[in-house]
Symmetry: C2
Subunit: 353 residues, 2 copies
């Protein structure tokens, strides 16, 4: 840093051409003789000029080539979540070759102070991706709207200006529910994702169930009911983590009236339930069936393979990337709902008689 390097003007002067010609030599956009071009390139090399300063280019073109990725209020949770990670991977993989960068932006803490994150407030980004998804009135979304930044929303309310990408998890859960019923299960419990940001844990009564703020949770639960299953109990967790699934499993699978099947609203939760069941001496897939959703690869569950509703995470990330690119190009991508598929594992089986 410090000493500002040579500029395009320096190179042009050294090469004995005008600045605009030098610019063409680098961008390649426009007519230019091979010799002139080479002359410029040589001069650049001599001055150890490393190419046009992106800042100048950005100001001129009005675009930064940066896609802001707004991750849930606690970044650390987003990073721990294999689901977000895989989507992020697909996204970066798609955007990179397009020359677009991914800027990580912590979401504003909705619960805490109203003081927004400086990045969300003012970082240069041409389009934002909302991993948190969520309602239209989330403060991150309001901030971005105000700035006029178009957004790609993952699994949330459709944005006014932007795109929406999601998966048919509702349909997937309905399908799963039907399959469990077909296996003879009648007492089915649900281990749910968080209802909102308030980190409650335990059985959720009907009233509480009517007050779900997180769309994904609401939708997956609705899917189960759509599949004809009325859960004997819905257990709310504070986060989609193995340990919370295990805690739920211990609570639900103890006692005489235990359910014959447990549906968890994420694979991480489901795997916790499997571990708890094993702890309690239950044979998973026989004494109790457990299923999740996401389609994660969980090698440490071996020899079991979790029965799950597979969602195409990488593809989701790629779709988000394409939508962002289209938005950047001035288009208006249609809302996209990706299909899910049932993955039969070893953790489900006929209801014990």
């Amino acid at each position: 840093m410090g000493a500002r390097g040579p500029t395009l003007a320096d190179v042009a002067q050294a090469a004995g051409v005008s600045v605009s010609t030098a610019s063409l030599a680098f961008s390649g956009a426009g007519p230019i003789t091979a010799t002139t071009r080479q002359k410029v390139l040589d001069a650049a090399a001599a001055l150890s000029y490393v190419g046009p300063n992106p800042l100048g280019r950005q100001l001129r073109s009005g675009r930064s080539g940066i896609v802001g990725v707004v991750l849930g209020d606690a970044l650390r949770r987003a990073f721990r979540d294999p689901v977000s990670i895989q989507v992020l991977d697909g996204l970066v993989q798609t955007l990179g070759p397009l020359g677009l960068g991914v800027l990580l932006v912590p979401a504003v803490d909705d619960a805490g102070e109203p003081r927004a994150d400086p990045l969300l407030e003012s970082a240069g980004m041409d389009v934002a991706v909302l991993f948190s998804g969520g309602r239209a009135d989330d403060s991150s979304r309001v901030t971005l709207d105000r700035r006029g930044v178009p957004v790609v929303v993952i699994e949330g309310d459709p944005p006014e200006h932007g795109a929406l990408i999601g998966v048919d998890d509702r349909g997937g859960m309905a399908d799963l529910a039907r399959r469990l019923r077909a296996l003879g299960h009648e007492r089915i419990a649900v281990v749910a994702l968080p209802f909102g940001g308030d980190r409650r844990e335990g059985v959720a009564d009907a009233e509480r169930q009517a007050d779900i703020r997180w769309l994904v949770t609401e939708r997956r639960l609705a899917g189960i009911r759509e599949g004809g299953v009325e859960p004997v109990v819905v257990w709310e967790t504070p986060a989609s983590l193995v340990e919370h699934g295990a805690a739920a499993g211990r609570a639900l699978l103890t006692g005489p009236d235990r359910p014959t099947a447990v549906i968890a609203l994420s694979d991480l939760l489901a795997s916790g339930v499997v571990l708890a069941a094993r702890e309690l001496g239950l044979r998973v897939g026989h004494d109790v069936s457990v299923a999740g959703i996401d389609g994660l690869d969980l090698p440490w569950l071996a020899p079991d393979v979790l029965t799950s509703v597979d969602q195409p995470l990488r593809l989701k990330g790629e779709s988000v990337g394409l939508a962002a690119a289209e938005l950047l190009a001035g288009g208006s991508p249609e809302p996209l709902v990706l299909p899910v598929s049932f993955r039969e594992g070893t953790t489900t089986g006929p209801a014990p008689s």
Copy 2:
């Protein structure tokens, strides 16, 4: 985007002041009357101007406020690795409040084509963080050097212009090795991290062991020897993943001459070894001891807690962030080696007699 929003000039005009005054109203740097300031702010609100365009500011100041994070050649692997993730988390957490953004940059594929990633080549960043660490001649590092971007290297060769952050994993491994010897273990096997990018799997002979390209692997292995342990066998893995640890465990713990202890060069590998040992009917911590390094939280290993060498991952990320900020401010941070600590779990015990 499309319709460019109002500019500072528009606001100034609406407020009946000059552009420079309007600028002061926003930056706060300089003398300005409260009334004038308010007048400007009101005009801005009326025009729904959302604050100075970062691009203009950046061009003027010559800095983008962006820290490029160069993640290993396969981003997806970096994202799957809880170690990188936690460091990344600490980094973002530190940089965010400083108003600095984290830009994800895929590293150039050293094996593949020499065509560098467009982002690495030309994205605006004031400083880069190299997660891959690595040797001074890695192509990503060469590219950044050429661009004159200072770098913070994590666990690698010290950069010419930049900072170096690492942990004393060598010392930690030496300590671990001594403790195992003190427990009476004499036949100790090592499950190693990858030696380089060539994804080999299996026993590494002496010749192969002399050809380790990844510094971290080399250093941790050296630490074990420094602790007085000459491994009876070194098993090379293609990636730090549970399944590869499990494969190693199955291979190493079968047969009559099996080691009484296994040291893995990562916790993920170690946990795979634990799973394999359980599969084989061995009591971990009694029949065989297993230890790792990283200090990950592995709830699904319950009821076992892995014996490990704890490295302060979050702190590492924070230190990287601070070093980046210091570099940005023109400083020259000293190389930093963070301490590690031994974490005794349930997976190690006295050697069986």
